[in-house]
Symmetry: C2
């Protein structure tokens, strides 16, 4: 099979293409995850802050929609993280990705039962730490990603993480097509995690306004707020994001600033409120031109990667 016969990520995850779908809170549900897994990637359900019953429903649903491997994302700082962990154990979820924090306890609980754990990291030190804790792979996420982000850009994060750890590196942040996929492979990655482009898929259940905002986005459409809180978040520019930035600039209290963003992701995802919603999305929004089925997206990424690889191959002759 093209490209990925010897690829460590496809072997580890028992999937066809080393494309992991980002575990986006409120966005990544069983429908999206099943579509990605059925198309040969790894679909991921975001536990987020979901109550246990809802999360269990989603896990049961995804196993009905696909017989391929899938994953669950656990936000370590979520109050429901431990519940999500126990659900991952109960249902023998094949793969768990983690975000925001140190996943030591997750790895300890899941490794003995054979669950593959892949933490999202945003620096070399963090990558080294989780590798020591026994992570099977790292998802190295650059600053261009959507939602909560780190400070180091994909272009320089990937080679430094690849130099620092021996486990496979999956690149996230700024990858939306085959060009980006080949680029991060050249930097030392062996897989990609893609979020924003999958939001604009037929199978994604977010409000149409969310998809449309990404499709309309140009290269300068995102902004980052929350630096003053120590939790920077990238989302598409709108009234809410500008108010947030203004409040930070004017030195409002942490409580006042945080209240501007609270609950606004749900407002974007479910109600499509273009003014007050938080439309988390990566800088790659500018590369997303349409909404299409997940299978078409993956096909386009792989055929684009094939084309770019051949171009690079000609250079190497």
């Amino acid at each position: 099979m093209f490209m990925f016969e010897k690829n460590r990520v496809t072997k580890l995850l028992k999937i066809k293409f080393p494309i992991i779908q980002g575990g986006m809170a409120w966005v990544a549900d069983a429908d999206l995850a099943a579509a990605v897994s059925n198309a040969g990637g790894l679909g991921v359900i975001a536990a987020g802050t979901m109550p246990s019953e809802l999360l269990e429903e989603q896990i049961i649903k995804v196993t009905k929609l696909t017989n391929k491997p899938f994953g669950m994302n656990i936000m370590l700082m979520s109050p429901t993280a431990d519940d999500a962990l126990e659900i991952a154990v109960k249902y023998r979820v094949p793969v768990v990705t983690t975000g925001a924090g140190l996943p030591g306890r997750i790895i300890e609980r899941l490794k003995p039962i054979g669950t593959i754990v892949m933490p999202v990291i945003a620096s070399v030190a963090h990558a080294e730490r989780v590798a020591k804790q026994g992570a099977d792979a790292v998802i190295a996420e650059g600053n261009e990603a959507g939602g909560h982000i780190g400070e180091i850009n994909t272009m320089v994060l990937i080679p430094q993480v690849a130099d620092a750890v021996t486990i496979p590196v999956i690149a996230a942040g700024g990858v939306a097509d085959g060009r980006g996929m080949v680029a991060v492979f050249a930097l030392g990655a062996e897989g990609v995690q893609i979020g924003t482009r999958f939001v604009c898929s037929t199978e994604c259940n977010v409000h149409d306004n969310y998809k449309q905002k990404i499709i309309n986005a140009n290269d300068r459409a995102t902004m980052v707020t929350g630096y003053s809180l120590g939790h920077p978040v990238r989302a598409l520019k709108n009234k809410m994001m500008k108010s947030f930035a203004e409040a930070e600039k004017n030195g409002l209290s942490i409580e006042e600033v945080e209240s501007i963003g609270a609950g606004k992701l749900r407002l974007a995802v479910q109600e499509g409120d273009v003014n007050l919603g938080s439309f988390m999305a990566g800088q790659s929004s500018g590369l997303v031109k349409k909404c299409e089925p997940v299978a078409s997206i993956i096909e386009d990424i792989i055929s684009g990667a094939k084309k770019q690889s051949k171009k690079i191959a000609e250079l190497a002759e």
Copy 2:
């Protein structure tokens, strides 16, 4: 010759490798530029705010040190920009790169005499504008670069600029080795501009403390200040940068904030003042491990690019 027989950038500039040295103010002098041009890249002298006599000396010097093409960087917003332009005309400098602003008048003056003009741009709209003005190529610079920066990261800037213009795209920001070079080629670039790594060359005349700070840098060693002034600058973290950030956060007046940074690049370059200097450098600092001759740096980049291209070629089989 490997890789670049059909490359539009090497043909345009009449050089061996499509590697352009960044036109770093106070850093990029005749010695560095000549070394890069002699090694097969394009060396560039930064006009910066240099008085005309000094700049003329540098231009005369570089033509004595190399018979290969070289370039001059003109900062459009510098008070000496027009003087630098006339010197470029007088000495028939083969290539002019421009930074910070619209280069219309530069292109109008230089195109009739056959000088190649390559503006540094940081967004798609800016690229389209300079392409219309007659630029021969664009240097698309991502947010990971050192010094004055834009907001869009290299990983997503390059493919969008490559889609938007037909002239060659040279990628800058985050590229320090062959992996980065192949990565940006996969994204659609046909050349690279490299700054930070060339600072750590034997031929670069900056203070040893500057080179050492880059060599010691890890992935998190840089920070960005100046957002509140509308002119973000990336440099290595130190006392000066932290004071600058603190002053911005505390809402000091623009004059007070600017006074913290004024003259500090010179202090870093010439005196190596580790506390008060402004050690402008890119996020790629973490990838730079030693100081070596320019020729070794270029050899390493090209051999690294060759190796990575072959790896990608295997994927494409």
